[in-house]
């Protein structure tokens, strides 16, 4: 059964994804594992606080009029879960990079880049789809079903 949706600003989510992609590619190019750790930490903290990790940056860009809000009735929980997954992947990536498993570390980082890109450019949130799949399986803690008229992982229709 569909859950009652709440307003979710998808512009904030997209900004978050764009920053994550940019930072991780910069980390790879500069060979800077600390930047992977920092990105992962911001994502994990954001998930713990129930919002996009790079929300302050979005607010600054919105304040300057560069980005406009795009509020859609949606469930914030799957997006939080997706961010948590990304943060955990980056934490594992950092551990790999710090312990000499550099290939594994960078593969995990690029996986996060790929999934964030799929969300940003293709409009499909794999972490959200996974959340809704766990909901269908009745997994405790995954209480939200996709909003009415939307499919798991896809952006719900506005209005």
């Amino acid at each position: 059964m569909a859950s009652p949706a709440r307003p979710v600003d998808h512009a904030a989510l997209r900004t978050n994804q764009a920053v994550i992609i940019s930072l991780l590619i910069a980390a790879f190019v500069a060979d800077a594992p600390w930047l992977v750790a920092l990105t992962g930490l911001v994502m994990l903290l954001g998930s713990a606080r129930g919002r996009p990790g790079f929300l302050p940056l979005y607010r600054a860009l919105r304040g300057m009029g560069i980005i406009k809000p795009d509020v859609v009735p949606d469930n914030p929980e799957p997006h939080r879960f997706a961010q948590l997954l990304g943060g955990l992947f980056l934490a594992a990536a950092f551990v790999g990079l710090a312990t000499g498993l550099t290939t594994v570390g960078w593969i995990l980082s690029w996986l996060v880049v790929a999934l964030a890109s799929l969300n940003l450019f293709g409009g499909f949130c794999l972490g959200c789809a996974l959340y809704y799949w766990l909901n269908r399986l009745g997994t405790p803690g995954f209480r939200k079903a996709p909003p009415a008229g939307s499919s798991p992982g896809r952006r719900p229709p506005a209005g």
């Binding site: 790879f28 190019v29 790929a114 890109s117 896809r154």
Partner: protein
């Protein structure tokens, strides 16, 4: 540093290629299963436009772009609009991930291209030209006023 930058470009290019390949696969599967769009008439190319109520880029950018094309092509082009929220099964079967999404269908009912997200009139026209559907003139009308 330069080596890593080139490697990053190569990885991004590989991801883009994989995404394009996946898109082509979806189109191929769709073509094999048939369009299943009642409004489509064989013999004329079509743009299948998935939208949803309240989708602001659909209203402010995508629809005007499509109407520009419609004004340019006239009856030679079919414009088929589908509300993805009203027809989720159809949107699923076409692999629609977001709105707006536009599919280009040739005159033999074969899906030939897709745009996930907004596609401007110029891009759509280039895609129509690529499937051998050149417009009567190469200049897009400034304002769209044609009906479907």
């Amino acid at each position: 540093m330069m080596e890593r930058l080139l490697l990053a470009f190569a990885i991004v290019a590989a991801m883009w290629t994989a995404y394009q390949a996946l898109t082509r696969l979806v189109l191929l599967l769709r073509a094999r299963r048939g369009l299943r769009i009642d409004a489509y008439h064989l013999g004329r190319p079509a743009i299948l436009y998935f939208t949803a109520p309240g989708c602001s880029p659909c209203e402010t950018i995508q629809r005007p772009a499509l109407l520009q094309l419609k004004a340019l092509y006239g009856d030679r082009l079919q414009l088929i609009e589908v509300d993805a929220s009203q027809h989720p099964g159809l949107a699923d079967s076409w692999g629609v991930l977001t709105v707006p999404t536009t599919f280009l269908v040739d005159r033999q009912a074969r899906p030939r291209g897709v745009n996930h997200g907004v596609a401007r009139a110029g891009r759509l026209m280039d895609q129509l030209i690529a499937i051998d559907e050149p417009p009567p003139q190469r200049t897009l009308p400034a304002e769209a006023g044609a009906s479907r």
